[in-house]
């Protein structure tokens, strides 16, 4: 009963309404759902397991998509240079990419929000120090940050452990290299919000600073964060590909979406276009749909725009 | 009475929203004569600003004029194409908004903004416009105008800024000024200065004015006639003295009664219970009927039009024939 009510309320809500009113949003939601669903369910629905080396046959390499002249119906979107089914590789690769992308963005969002809130709300020295740190960070390319972290981890931990946590190293590296943009945005909005009277009202009640920042200021500064976050998702996915090229990150036998594109890039001139084009399309669809959803959500969450 | 400068007939403004269309202004009619000041009062959300915005053609989308007409000097202006309407703005109809802090572009000097406006509308070259701009600043009482003309808005105090806004609204010498709460953001002492200024300018230049405000004192001081709005309609319109002292419509009466007197202390201020209905839930009949102390059956079914009530016009069945008790 209560559930029914909740569902009814959700369907009746303005957010749902604005959602159904925007065909582009609905389309991107469907696409995003397919992307994420395909990735999450890959082990169950993918026709092959490209990460299982034992199942790869080099003889099957470079098969064009099924509809092409020498296509193999077994491999709908063709195979790559190792004989991996491109369709399955996309699904499995998207798993890696999404994991890295989402976690990295989550990490940078969390750091960025924390730093931005603290800097904006507390001001003074905290602000100056945090923003200088952000400046310093901004001068370092992501790749170098990742190399540094990887180097430190490598030096500190035995290699077996290092291999197991390679993925997390990548997530961490990408995550911490993007936080300043979030921090700056959040700080800017926080500076505006903290002078609003509802924040002062909360202070009169005697709530702690942390609690005011989290429960009052935070929800009001999330809008722009959402938009940058969605833009950053694509960036994180691509950064992962670059890092795996540099030997930091997931092994090439478990290629991510970005790695697939990078590998396929070598075959663009030789006519084996499907190796890069299909993962490329998958990535575009993923990033595009997530971004469009982000745009919509920002508008939908803003009561002023309803 | 001469032909009115501005005439609004049966104006209707709608907001299409997801849950049906909101009617923000319904059947609003009034006119302003040459040199006349019409005060507009009423509860927050009654549609005062909307009326002003409709006249200068600056309704915020998705709001739109859905019916009625607006005539300026006998010429219909509500259906003009954008470029035509633009030429009227500033030149024929000036506007003053509530907040002097936000109505001036912070990035331009006040002189630049004045000159820009004048050059757009009047056959002046920038040098002439500059000279005129200084004149205007002097006229609105900015001391050392020839130096202050190159100052930025933030370098002025609130009161001075509002004077600049007034100069801006007047500099192309419009015939009508729509002033939407020009003094609400100012404190009492400056408020008095601004009102005095507006009044004297209007008198000197023969400008008509629509003055929207919450402040009855300002209305009483400044306006010739006053229109009382409630829930998207005009419920009463008449000469200031009549409406303020002997309001005909029960809402107007309640409103006037709520004005806190300066001269004495009341134990309990007179108030109108309840609140104005939201636009999406306006009751049938007279919109005021749920709050009206004098409500009777007809009020709940039939909507009253403006009708003569004493020296004013009021939209109230009390003044129709066959009302149960006369006010």
């Amino acid at each position: 009963m209560a559930q029914m009510n909740a569902i009814q309320r959700a369907l009746d809500s303005d957010i749902w309404y604005s959602f159904t009113r925007s065909p582009i949003t609905v389309a991107s939601a469907i696409v995003a759902l397919i992307c994420v669903g395909g990735a999450v369910l890959a082990p169950w629905i993918a026709p092959h397991n490209p990460f299982d080396l034992a199942s790869l046959q080099l003889m099957d390499a470079f098969k064009p998509p099924a509809w092409e002249a020498d296509g193999d119906p077994n491999y709908l979107l063709g195979t790559d240079d190792q004989g991996r089914d491109v369709l399955s590789a996309i699904m499995y690769g998207a798993r890696v990419s999404l994991l890295v992308g989402f976690c990295a963005v989550l990490l940078s969002v969390s750091i960025g929000i924390t730093a931005g809130l603290a800097a904006g709300y507390m001001g003074g020295t905290v602000d100056a120090v945090l923003m200088r740190i952000a400046d310093i960070k901004l001068t370092f390319p992501t790749i170098l940050i990742a190399l540094l972290i990887d180097g430190v981890v490598r030096a500190a931990l035995p290699r077996e452990v290092h291999d197991q946590i390679a993925l997390y190293v990548v997530i961490f590296a990408i995550g911490i290299s993007n936080w300043p943009s979030f921090a700056r945005t959040v700080r800017g909005s926080t500076l505006v919000e903290r002078n609003k009277e509802y924040v002062q009202a909360a202070r009169v009640i005697g709530l702690s600073r942390a609690r005011i920042m989290v429960t009052h200021v935070l929800p009001n500064v999330l809008g722009p964060v959402l938009v940058i976050a969605t833009l950053n998702l694509g960036f994180a996915v691509l950064a992962e590909a670059t890092l795996s090229f540099l030997g930091v990150g997931v092994p090439p036998t478990q290629p991510s979406l970005g790695t697939l594109i990078r590998i396929g890039n070598d075959f663009l001139f030789s006519g084996e276009w499907w190796i890069t084009i299909f993962p490329g399309i998958a990535l575009i669809l993923l990033v595009l749909s997530v971004n469009l959803l982000g745009d919509w959500l920002r508008d939908a969450l803003n009561p002023k725009l309803r | 009475m001469t032909a009115p400068l501005l005439e609004v007939r049966n104006l209707r403004v709608e907001f299409p929203t997801r849950r049906g269309t909101l009617v923000a202004l319904n059947d609003v009619s009034f006119s302003i004569a040459q040199g006349e000041v019409l005060g507009v009062v009423g509860e927050s959300g009654a549609g005062k600003s909307m009326t002003g915005a409709a006249i200068i053609g600056l309704l915020e989308p998705p709001g739109r004029i859905a019916g009625g007409e607006i005539l300026l000097n006998g010429r219909r202006i509500d259906n003009l194409p954008y470029s035509e309407l633009r030429k009227l703005r500033g030149r024929e109809i000036g506007a003053i908004f509530q907040d002097p802090l936000t109505t001036l572009n912070p990035l331009y000097t006040v002189g630049a903004q004045l000159i820009e406006t004048m050059v757009t509308h009047l056959p002046l070259n920038p040098a002439q416009a500059r000279a005129k701009a200084i004149e205007w600043l002097e006229l609105v009482g900015i001391p050392a105008a020839s130096q202050r003309i190159d100052s930025y808005p933030h370098e002025f105090s609130g009161g001075m800024r509002q004077r600049v806004v007034i100069a801006l609204a007047l500099c192309a010498e419009p015939k009508l000024i729509v002033a939407d709460e020009p003094t609400t953001a100012l404190d009492v002492s400056i408020q008095a200065q601004v009102i005095a200024l507006l009044k004297s300018l209007a008198r000197e230049k023969g400008t008509s004015m629509m003055l929207v405000t919450h402040d009855m004192g300002v209305i009483a001081e400044t306006a010739d006639r006053v229109a009382v709005m409630y829930a998207g309609r005009i419920v009463e319109i008449g000469a200031v003295r009549n409406v303020v002292r002997h309001a005909s419509h029960p809402y107007s009466a309640g409103l006037m009664g709520s004005i806190p007197p300066v001269g004495r202390r009341l134990d309990r201020m007179q108030q109108i219970d309840g609140s104005m209905p939201r636009l999406s839930a306006i009751p049938p009949g007279c919109a005021y009927n749920p709050r009206c102390p004098k409500v009777f059956d007809r009020c709940r079914v039939e909507r009253p039009e403006l009708m003569p009530a004493g020296d004013s016009l009021a939209a109230c069945w009390l003044y129709a024939e066959g009302a149960p008790r006369h006010a």
């Binding site: 390319p141 | 506007a95 572009n105």
Partner: protein, 327 residues
């Protein structure tokens, strides 16, 4: 003004120092220059001699202190890979990168800003939607793929533009520029597009968001009420007010463009600092890498300063100290 610049420079010092420390520290991990320099044949003694020669056997902070002292004098030593003074290499390469970066930034601004204005003004037109969606496609493809696709189209298929290099350059006072020759200009087109695409999207979205915000403000409404032309309102008043955030982001992004030109320079064999850097990473050429990073940091600090000065130019409110109690 002078005081302001000095204070910014003082603030920049700790930033630079930290960057120096970090860049210095990180190279302990990116690869072993000794192994690379020795090549296929060496003895243990040779190896130790080299380590001592390079000063790699000294304590970390001694190495660092030396590094900072030298760096402050513009002395970064000799490149391990090319055996040439790093400062000389950087000076040779900087013009290429700067021209590319500025061109990309210019492209991003020249296209991104108008597109942002357009999409901000006509939020729902199909052209706006097209711009928004299409630009997102641009950012969701890796730079190297975009570069290759552009080369494939414009160099290989159409044969219009060169696929690599800077074309002919002219040396103007020690600065080798490709902007003055026809082939130099042609060579600039594809790399600038590749590099600028992401920034273009960003700037467009930013301007759009800011425009939408600014268009809701009172002073825009007031500018319209004064009857200013559309152009004056949109570009004179609205756009100028969006500039502060746009300047910030563009400034930050210019730093990012320079820092991230690495991929673009590799794809187009553009002889800039990025190419130098990536080759140095391959060879663990520590002096070049650290000099590069410091240079980027310096560039960043400079850009930040310029951005702040631009603020001053754009926004008069920032010109006075915080003293005046704005209310």
């Amino acid at each position: 003004m002078f005081a302001f610049i000095i204070s910014r420079i003082l603030q920049a010092l700790p930033v630079m120092l930290t960057v120096a420390l970090l860049s210095f520290a990180m190279f302990a991990y990116v690869g072993d220059p000794v192994a690379i320099m020795l090549g296929q044949d060496y003895t243990v003694a040779q190896r130790d001699a080299l380590v001592a020669d390079l000063g790699l056997d000294q304590p970390f902070f001694v190495q660092f202190a030396k590094f900072v002292v030298n760096a402050a004098q513009g002395e970064f030593g000799l490149s391990y890979r090319l055996s040439r003074p790093v400062a000389q290499l950087i000076v040779e390469r900087a013009p290429a990168t700067l021209e590319l970066a500025l061109c990309a930034a210019f492209l991003a601004l020249a296209i991104g800003v108008p597109m942002g204005v357009y999409t901000g003004l006509y939020r729902n037109s199909w052209l706006s939607r097209f711009f928004l969606t299409f630009s997102l496609i641009g950012v969701s493809l890796p730079t190297f793929l975009i570069g290759i696709l552009l080369i494939l189209t414009f160099s290989v298929w159409l044969g219009w533009l060169p696929s690599f290099g800077r074309g002919d350059t002219v040396n103007v006072g020690g600065w080798s520029t490709g902007l003055l020759t026809w082939s130099g200009l042609k060579a600039l087109i594809l790399p600038s597009i590749t590099l600028g695409l992401f920034q273009l999207t960003l700037i467009m979205r930013l301007v759009r968001a800011e425009m939408m915000e600014v268009l809701r403000t009172d002073y825009i409404k007031f500018a319209r009420a004064r009857g200013l032309t559309n152009r004056a309102v949109h570009f004179g008043h609205a756009l100028k007010n969006t500039l502060v955030p746009v300047i910030t982001i563009t400034g930050l992004q210019l730093g990012a463009i320079i820092a991230f030109a690495i991929v673009t320079e590799t794809v187009f064999q553009w002889p800039g600092m990025g190419l130098l850097f990536i080759q140095s990473v391959g060879a663990a050429d520590i002096p070049v890498m650290s000099a590069y990073l410091l240079l980027i940091a310096l560039m960043f600090v400079t850009i930040n300063l310029i951005v702040d000065l631009l603020y001053y130019a754009v926004d008069p409110r920032l010109r006075i100290g915080r003293g005046k109690g704005a209310h």
